[in-house]
């Protein structure tokens, strides 16, 4: 994992310039932002929803909302990436509520291309157990794991998305990991 991904949030929003250009109608900037964010947004939606089609629709909607926001975006208030992650989570919850689905009820349609068959089988089995364990966590704990572990946000960025202090995030993560360990080892948390 790249260390720079883990650096604390600086005052400067790395997306500010591309957003400004996007707001001015620059199509190249739109393309740049889509290239920068699409995979991350899609990965979060896919893990939250467990359905590739739904994840693609959420990713599309989140980026469309980004474009709508671009013209009026005020740098310095919140980081764009923080806002975007919150939008994706909200869109996922809307979709889950509408469908009355349990997140991760089915494993995602796709896992990375891959290792040999026996290794793949073991990995798939662990994946299913991880998904089942994550599905049993309270929403906030699951969000903390999704953002910190899978989206590779820093502690400060994750806390900002969740709207909590860094101390509260640390507590959420500790409880989440304790529960996950207990569930994966076959004991109730």
């Amino acid at each position: 994992m790249a260390i720079e991904k883990r650096e604390a949030v600086s005052d400067e929003d790395p997306d500010a310039d591309v957003l400004r250009r996007m707001g001015e109608g620059d199509e190249t900037a739109s393309r740049e932002l889509v290239g920068r964010k699409l995979a991350r947004v899609h990965a979060l939606a896919l893990r939250m929803l467990g359905d590739a089609g739904d994840a693609e629709e959420v990713a599309q909607e989140a980026l469309l909302r980004s474009w709508r926001q671009a013209a009026g975006w005020k740098p310095g208030r919140a980081r764009f990436d923080t806002w975007l992650h919150r939008v994706v989570l909200n869109l996922c919850y809307d979709r889950l509520r509408r469908k009355r689905e349990v997140p991760f009820a089915e494993p995602p349609d796709q896992v990375d291309p891959a290792p040999p068959a026996d290794q793949r089988m073991a990995q798939d089995q662990t994946t299913r157990r991880v998904q089942a364990a994550l599905a049993r966590l309270p929403d906030r704990q699951r969000e903390a794991i999704m953002l910190q572990t899978y989206q590779e946000l820093t502690n400060i960025e994750t806390a900002a998305v969740l709207g909590v202090s860094v101390e509260a995030l640390e507590s959420l993560l500790s409880r989440a990991r304790r529960s996950l360990r207990a569930l994966l080892e076959g004991a109730e948390p």
Binding site: A8, S30, A55, Q60, W67, T126, T149, V166, L180
Partner: protein, 143 residues
């Protein structure tokens, strides 16, 4: 850094130092170097969970998704442009209608010699009321 704080850090963020908060990373690494046995026990437990979580990988979006997103943005741009054209047309129409209404109002304003609307004329055109002493009574007498 205390052993307790080290355990809390690893328990929250996992065994990979890259994931530890930047502000405490160096201290935690120093603790690890100073007390390797103690640190190792904590890190092994957390590394096992990290490895299990890392099994859940997802592939990237389909190759055509980027194109579909760009097409969506393009549609949005086109709709926004049409909306702006509509609004500017509406603005022009409102301005024109306002001008016509203003013209009609001016033509309909009472003239200076109109006794019945004298007070109103004085208020609207001259901006001051007629002095009561000069008001003309209906019988033509000045009060």
């Amino acid at each position: 850094m205390t052993p307790e704080r080290f355990a809390v850090l690893a328990g929250a963020y996992g065994a990979d130092p890259d994931r530890w908060p930047e502000a405490e990373r160096e201290q935690a690494l120093a603790f690890q170097r100073a007390r390797p046995d103690q640190a190792q026990a904590v890190l092994e437990r957390e590394a096992a969970l990290d490895a299990a979580l890392a099994c859940w990988t997802v592939s990237g979006p389909g190759a055509d998704l980027s194109g579909r997103v760009m097409a969506g943005l393009s549609r949005g741009r086109s709709l926004r442009l049409r909306w702006r054209v509509f609004l500017s047309g509406l603005g022009a129409a409102v301005t024109l209608a306002g001008g016509v209404a203003a013209g009609i109002s001016v033509l309909a304003l009472p003239q200076a010699g109109d006794q019945v609307s004298g007070a109103l004329y004085s208020l609207t055109v001259l901006g001051e009321p007629i002095d009561d002493a000069d008001e003309v009574a209906p019988d033509g007498q000045t009060r």
